[in-house]
Subunit: 180 residues, 4 copies
């Protein structure tokens, strides 16, 4: 149908071209999630990282991450991206607090922060999210790997994380009291 | 047995007399918990407060609260007091983060803070704890009442809370983004 | 000059028309600040609110607030809006932590949150910022009023705040331990 | 004078012997501070660590740390220990928020946490504190060293920190967004 190709200008959905333009004009709001396993007392025992093939063909690690759409609450966006990246049976437990453990600012030019993204200026609110079910990544993610806090904080894993997210992953570990 | 009346001086357990003495010498470490119900996206929908008869015979409201024992982790103490006050089927979900939403300082003399306790100088680390099961208060608590965030923040409820905990309860609501 | 009317499409600056379009398509990232006075021990003693005439002609209260521009860090945006709203001699002390005390989500339609904004879907990272100098509001702000924590938390002040920001102001008080 | 040897039992001060006894019976409340230098926008540029000779004669690093006394607020305790360890001209800026960036639990036996202290079970509320003046350590501290965030997070510095405080120092860096 033609109408699906001509989105309502008020719809909140952007064509690829429009999105490309906006990405050079405005900071884009993202949510990111660090999936974790916790024990019966809430202590984080494992941390999930996604393995995927980046556009250059090499394998890298990343976190659950995605845009917040027009009209969407942060919780809806978090939930949607967790389901997209971990599958429908992950049963994420979104935190009661709306305050992120950190805010990551990604820049497409030499970055004044620890984070970069050559596509855009993105600002990501990052959350630690316990998952209790079975994770079955879809889409472009190849695999979800569970790491111990020690592995997740290691230089090796940190260097494999896209866009400087190794620092974000370590900050997540610190926020839940398990950074070595 | 005599031995139960003569506790090992290194045991970490204090007789009533010893505890009374220490309470005039040292700040005593407490944990407090605000039990909450959350919806499928983690939004707090109800807040629990305990109704009980205070030593003066009047009915007041309070939070889950208790001392941290020698050798006990904060999580163990939280879990123990949640079970004591809410029963064994409450299934509390302790937060992944060890950082309290606030720290309440109670003083036995005209208090420089919003909180008072005529027995002691106590410092309480306060946490919001989602519970998913059935709460069945034991001991001196008469009843657990579930309140909406609006009710919990009201002046009426605030005035019924012991030791100034109305301010702590409102601070809990603020920390999870539902303070009116 | 013609050049000021024909902004570089990659410049990160949007014409009024473009901004109006984008505001119906994407959540817009804001920073907000609650200016405070602190005593020698860091305790918040006064809270600043801006009085201004809103487009409808009535007088309302608001917080320091503004958009994050393309390529701008959150700290740069905070600093710029604090200077715009409080003048160049306010000497704000930006917090060391990049984590906001709360995140406010404003929606232009019946809002699932406590906050609304009929112009746009905006997501604001909110910070408490001690100021040590002299505040001299410029632009559309008429006056900066200093309130005690009790006044700032009152229903009267809360009802005068734009877009539901009374709840945000109370949450700010809670985050610094002075909510009544 | 005899009176100095017979402290008022209600005084809140403990003799060395009494303190030694209490330390085997109750968790002892501490405050800890990570002194930092910040730039004009609040970004942490340097982190202070104290070099000192430990009882075994070797040189180790530690943080500003000390007990909270009976009747003392956390802010008073923080201020007192900062002055004791950094001298009277350090001009520390205590944070407006009473919430610590982390809570460190030290145990005298094989510890269930990352932290240990062979004297006692101590629970420390830890804060990042910008200092704007000149630091001149007194008492048993030999020297205050300013480190870059990268140095402070390094394995070398971490291994020199007493009681596992390397993890606490890294957590402090994470809380202010400068953990590498």
């Amino acid at each position: 149908m033609a109408s699906t190709r001509t989105p309502d200008p008020d719809s909140g959905w952007l064509s690829d071209e429009e999105l490309a333009q906006v990405r050079r004009r405005l900071p884009i709001l993202y949510v990111e999630a660090v999936p974790v396993r916790v024990d019966g007392q809430g202590v984080v025992t494992e941390v999930g990282a996604l393995l995927r093939v980046n556009p250059a063909g090499s394998i890298t690690r990343t976190l659950v991450s995605g845009r917040v759409m027009y009209g969407e609450t942060l919780r809806d966006a978090l939930y949607r991206h967790l389901e997209k990246d971990l599958g429908p049976m992950a049963f994420p437990q979104l935190p009661a607090s709306p305050v992120p453990f950190s805010v990551a600012e990604y820049f497409p030019f030499p970055s004044p922060t620890r984070f970069d993204d050559d596509r855009q200026h993105a600002v990501a609110l990052a959350f630690v999210v316990p998952v209790t079910g079975t994770c079955d990544p879809r889409q472009d993610a190849l695999e979800l790997t569970w790491l111990t806090p020690e592995e997740a904080a290691s230089d090796r894993v940190s260097n494999e994380m896209e866009g400087g997210r190794g620092a974000l992953l370590r900050t997540a570990l610190a926020s839940v009291g398990v950074l070595p």
